[in-house]
Symmetry: C2
């Protein structure tokens, strides 16, 4: 049976461990810096745990490094497992950071925003795969297909492009929601009023291209509304600057 | 029976006419500038149509002006219906533009992004109501409740705030999708890869506050990733400017 060690106990590590367990893999070991983070995840997936990489269970089949980008190189330095498959899960880290860990290594990058608190359907999450050899790639694709229906082989440059697109489509849109929320809250209006609009905006781009469905004062070049809205933002120079720049670019 | 005249045949007019018809109202007349736009909508809701406001059917009960913001005043000038209820559907136009049309007037503003091509569930669309008198307000609330489960009385200032929040939450986020789409297309990657991420981002803000769920390099102050992504945008100064401004504000 394929036994997997997971290093990390954060958002991605948690979702991967849970879903690998559901897919029928044995989670051999969870390794995290603190017992407080390692233990609950280990218990959830019936695994052992340790806070010291020296106790790494080298009898496992796969080793998955799901820690923050800054920590990957540091973890990799402490792993030596011969020919066994070592994988990291980062979109923005080259594969070669793992080259001393094993002769077989690669990347399994699930392209999604994960929170421990929020369950999601992993089968719909695109997983981007890169392997140090065809054999490594084949094995990571196999592993990924147990988790998701959307598996793509992708090199570092492509992952970087995807990550950048994700910053615009996820991080920056969420920030737009935060601004909208603030504007409403200052005026004692509920964010709930916006939810149908937000949902519909996203519904549209499921089937139509975003450029095609762009609406609003900027695309209509409705200067009267734009000027009035700029005036409303007069006392919030940061928001006004964002409003002006995005409006200019849409026009 | 309540008979309604609808002036306009664009996105909002179309959705309102269809949904009022479904709710059991008789659409007495559709008035639009061209036969090409008036006729199909009139046929869809079994109404008569005209392209000349002089032919307005003044025997109707309600008169709904659902034309573009710039046209409302011009249309209002040509309507004189005594005490009958005249309504416009604009978020960003004061109610008083209708004050010479009738002694009873007001606003029915459905807060949503409408496209003729796309069916949506009107019952979930927040409708913001303002009336020139309590009687007018009561009548517009009655009309709105036939269409939606979410009806709020809201004055001009509140509508303007809501509209501004909508620009950030809908128009600007859609523009972020357009940028993401361009970045992927230039690199022969499909926008489909982003859809699960976009859906999840929106799912999160249905139950959690946007500030709480902000992710990405900016909120993590991950300068290595930010610098690399800025470098990727070097040849697109417009996008780089947007990236830098939003990143700075999130940090």
């Amino acid at each position: 049976m394929n036994r997997i060690v997971i290093i990390g106990a954060g958002n991605i590590a948690t979702h991967l461990a849970m879903n690998l367990k559901i897919a029928g893999f044995e989670i051999a070991q969870i390794i995290a810096r603190t017992e407080a983070s390692a233990k609950p995840l280990a218990e959830a997936v019936s695994a052992k745990y340790t806070c010291d990489l020296k106790n790494l269970d080298t009898t496992a089949t796969y080793f998955m490094i799901a820690v923050s980008d800054d920590e990957i190189a540091n973890v990799a330095k402490q792993i030596r497992v011969g020919e066994k498959l070592v994988i990291h899960t980062s979109g923005s880290t080259p594969m070669d950071v793992l080259k001393d860990c094993s002769t077989n290594y690669g990347v399994l990058y699930p392209f999604q925003t994960f929170s421990k608190k929020k369950v999601l359907n992993m089968r719909k999450v695109p997983i981007c795969v890169e392997g140090s050899s065809l054999e490594a790639q084949k094995n990571i694709v196999f592993l990924s297909r147990q988790l998701s229906d959307s598996v793509q082989v992708m090199n570092f440059e492509q992952r970087a492009v995807l990550h950048l697109a994700g910053v615009f489509a996820c991080n920056f849109t969420n920030y737009m929601y935060a601004i909208a929320n603030d504007i409403l809250a200052e005026n004692n209006l509920s964010f709930d009023l916006l939810k149908p609009l937000i949902t519909e905006t996203v519904d549209k781009v499921q089937s139509l291209s975003p450029r095609e469905v762009q609406t609003g004062p900027a695309i209509r070049k409705d200067m009267k509304t734009i000027e009035r809205q700029e005036k409303m933002l007069e006392k919030q120079p940061d928001l006004l600057e964002i409003y002006k720049l995005l409006t200019k670019n849409i026009m």
